[in-house]
């Protein structure tokens, strides 16, 4: 296995941010289907799902993984995921198709397995070497002691060579980049301890530190494995969100629809975009009329009308009528990908962030190495004994507990991310918590972030219950979001049960709905269609057919927890801004409802980035919360960024933190936890320093023994871990 494939260390986690990309469809064996089952929880669920799926004709095997809440199915090629989703839903469980290619389970597992294997080797070796060491500490003398040391060397050297590789690889890559990270002193301590002990053994010396070198390796690997586990569970949850958007589109070939992976679409292909689905790639409308929702791209809450020859961009949502479009750019060259490139650019700037661990290493490593050098020079000057002086210098290096320092950050972040995971907050980057703790300004997007991006009928707009009843009767025939909002409003008023019976209802894509009632034609739709002047806000109009026309206006429903979040963040001392691509009027309404006074409306994506740049030039550390394509560059540019689970795939990739669930208020909890984590990390460094304050004078004076090293190492590691555990 090459060093590149090794797990990245906790001390340099910024490197793990994946480059945003539109993945080409990987070859997955046909018939391998993965379903997400978010509601399974017990042995009964496993049996029901597996038995139900195995009973389906053509399914070869179905295996539930309860830890990941998934089921992996092997089936005949003609079985589709949709069929199986129906079967599972028939059994009473929620099921979603996952993109098997995107999950690439094997790779993630390999890293985890690899770490676990090294941990097992280190654990095996440390236990055996400890047994021999106990014999030496108990007073074995002469040839018996030498024998014990030789056996220790026999076990320890190969074990270290195998188990400590992740540290060596990271230390080496840091040194090559002329930087110091925590792995440099760790590797040095392990290597010097092993080397000095081997030399002492050949010289029948009294002290060998094989057990110290191994327990250092073991403790640090344990910390690293825990760290990997928490990050992997957050990552697999984030991956699952991405995999929910299965990237396939119906392509028209000779009048037949063929389901094609989006990555395989070529310029000139003709694609069908059904109402309710997302435009897969950039293109131009061939036939059909509809309204599309551009909120993800521009932040406008008002749907836009499109007809033949209109431009469509990837990510927009088709609302009312079916469209066929001709592809004008492949997925890899679409607007989406251009934004992805912008994100990659912005992210390289952020990767220069120096984590607390790296800063501590930059102070600690030279300090310790200098101290060891001073001890060596002083002892050599006083005693003139080279071997003694080297032994003392090395015991200083071993005893200064890089162990506790190496655990200080991962132990705290592991406990914190476990806690946040239970609150529905996924941390995608290891330094996300540290950066979040520093945030002093929060910038929010409006549409889809502070609001749900779903319209809600505004009350008191000069319409009667009767108007609403008639409008709802028409609206019931459409899936348009405004129509749905009318039906919901009627239900909320309790008048949805006695709707007038309209006849011959038909939907005019892009315009509205018409129907007949008591010999009159009534229409519900866009203002222009009914011959009314255009409305300033989101609205739909009703022509009652008796000469009276009624306007229904809508506003965007606030996201649950938005108010609490804004209040909580202000309470934590953050300055709140809102920036949106929507109209000033729509922006002001939301800002007033939430009590935000710094508002920028009508902003383009570049304006959002400019605002962030401006704030950071003034020394502000900005927390950006957004969900759309128009926020993506800003998300990547911000000091730390959060997106809701409903955000576009690429926005989630660009952000450090993803909040699952509808409610945004866990963001405040995340901020509090982040600040607590930073305090714990600093306490951990202080604890490690306190141990050193006792241990270093002993080591420098030449009183260090392997027993003392073992005690100091275990005690400091355990204190640091326990202190971190308080975060849970």
């Amino acid at each position: 296995m090459s060093p590149r494939a090794l797990p990245r260390p906790a001390v340099c986690p910024a490197c793990t941010i994946p480059a945003p990309e539109i993945r080409p469809a990987e070859a997955v064996a046909p018939g391998n289907i993965v379903l997400s089952l978010p509601t399974i929880h017990c042995a009964g669920c496993i049996s029901t799902v597996e038995r139900g799926l195995n009973a389906v004709e053509g399914v070869r095997s179905a295996r539930v993984n309860l830890s990941l809440k998934r089921v992996a199915i092997e089936a005949a090629p003609d079985i589709t995921a949709q069929q199986l989703v129906k079967v599972v839903e028939g059994l009473g469980y929620e099921a979603h198709e996952l993109d098997a290619a995107l999950l690439s389970e094997s790779r993630g597992d390999r890293i985890g397995r690899n770490l676990l294997m090294r941990l097992a080797v280190a654990g095996f070796a440390v236990m055996n070497v400890m047994l021999f060491s106990v014999a030496v500490w108990a007073g074995a003398e002469g040839s018996t002691r030498d024998l014990m040391h030789w056996f220790s060397a026999l076990i320890a050297l190969p074990a270290i060579a195998f188990a400590a590789q992740p540290f060596f690889a990271n230390a080496w890559s840091a040194l090559r980049a002329r930087r110091l990270n925590m792995d440099v002193p760790i590797s040095l301590a392990i290597l010097l301890a092993a080397g000095m002990s081997l030399y002492e053994t050949t010289q029948s010396g009294e002290n060998a530190y094989f057990d110290a070198a191994l327990s250092l390796t073991f403790f640090l690997l344990a910390g690293r494995y825990l760290d990997y586990r928490t990050r992997a569970s957050a990552r697999s949850a984030a991956q699952e969100l991405a995999a929910l958007e299965v990237n396939r589109a119906p392509r028209l070939i000779d009048g037949n629809e063929v389901i094609t992976p989006v990555a395989d679409l070529q310029v000139g292909d003709i694609v069908v975009v059904r109402p309710g689905s997302r435009v897969p790639v950039d293109g131009r409308v061939l036939t059909g009329e509809s309204e599309i929702d551009r909120a993800f791209l521009t932040g406008e809450s008002l749907p836009a009308y499109v007809g033949p020859d209109a431009e469509l961009r990837a990510g927009e949502i088709n609302l009312t009528g079916p469209l066929t479009m001709r592809v004008t750019a492949r997925a890899q060259e679409s607007t989406l990908q251009k934004v992805a490139n912008l994100v990659a650019l912005a992210e390289s700037a952020r990767n220069r962030y120096t984590s607390l661990a790296d800063r501590a290493a930059a102070i600690y490593a030279p300090g310790v190495h200098l101290l060891a050098l001073v001890a060596f020079v002083a002892w050599f000057a006083i005693s003139g004994d080279l071997r003694l002086s080297i032994n003392i210098a090395i015991s200083v290096l071993i005893i200064t507990c890089p162990c506790a320092l190496g655990l200080a950050v991962p132990a705290a972040t592991t406990a914190a991310s476990g806690r946040l995971y239970r609150h529905g907050v996924l941390l995608k980057s290891g330094t996300a918590l540290e950066r979040l703790a520093e945030a002093d300004t929060a910038v929010f997007d409006k549409t889809g972030t502070l609001t749900l991006g779903q319209p809600r009928l505004r009350e008191g707009g000069g319409f009667s219950d009767d108007d609403l009843r008639l409008a709802a009767a028409l609206a019931a025939h459409s899936t348009h979001p405004l129509a749905q909002a009318l039906v919901q409003a009627a239900e909320a008023r309790g008048i949805a049960n006695d709707l007038p019976a309209v006849e011959n209802a038909s939907e005019h894509p892009g315009h509205g709905i018409s129907a007949w009632l008591e010999g009159r034609e009534i229409r519900l739709g866009r203002a222009a269609w009914l011959g009314l002047p255009p409305t300033e806000t989101t609205a739909t109009c009703l022509d009652r057919g008796d000469g009276r026309k009624v306007v229904f206006t809508f506003d965007d429903a606030l996201r649950p927890g938005a108010r609490e979040l804004i209040d909580a963040l202000r309470g934590l001392g953050l300055d709140i801004h809102m920036i949106t691509g929507d109209t000033p009027a729509a922006a002001r309404r939301v800002a007033d409802a939430l009590g935000i006074d710094k508002v920028t409306a009508g902003a383009l994506p570049e304006d959002k980035v400019a605002l962030l740049d401006n704030l950071s030039e003034r020394g502000r550390k900005v927390l950006m919360v957004g969900d759309g394509l128009n926020d993506t560059a800003a998300l990547a540019r911000a000091h730390v960024s959060v997106s809701p689970a409903s955000a576009l795939d690429i926005a989630r990739v660009a952000s450090d933190i993803v909040v699952t669930g509808h409610d945004l208020s866990p963001v405040a909890e995340a901020l509090r936890t982040a600040r607590a984590t930073r305090r714990r990390i600093k306490e951990n460094f202080a604890l490690a320093a306190a141990y050193n304050a006792v241990a270093i004078p002993l080591a420098v004076l030449g009183h260090a023994t392997p027993l003392l090293a073992a005690l100091a190492m275990s005690a400091s590691s355990i204190t640091v871990t326990l202190n971190s555990w308080r975060l849970r």
Partner: protein, 52 residues
């Protein structure tokens, strides 16, 4: 002290066997779904063979 000649190799052999068994378990995916395995022993239907 002559006993050590037998005891040390014996302890190393046993520890090594445990390590080898752990490797085998890890490679055959027995740690992939700890929650599921904990629950599977509670069901009444019997697994004829482990996951491949």
């Amino acid at each position: 002290m002559d006993m050590l000649v037998y005891l040390i190799p014996a302890s190393l052999f046993m520890g090594g066997a445990g390590l080898a068994a752990f490797f085998w378990m890890l490679r055959s995916g027995q740690f992939d779904d700890p929650d599921g395995d904990a629950n599977r022993i509670l069901r009444t239907d019997y697994d004829d063979h482990p996951k491949e």
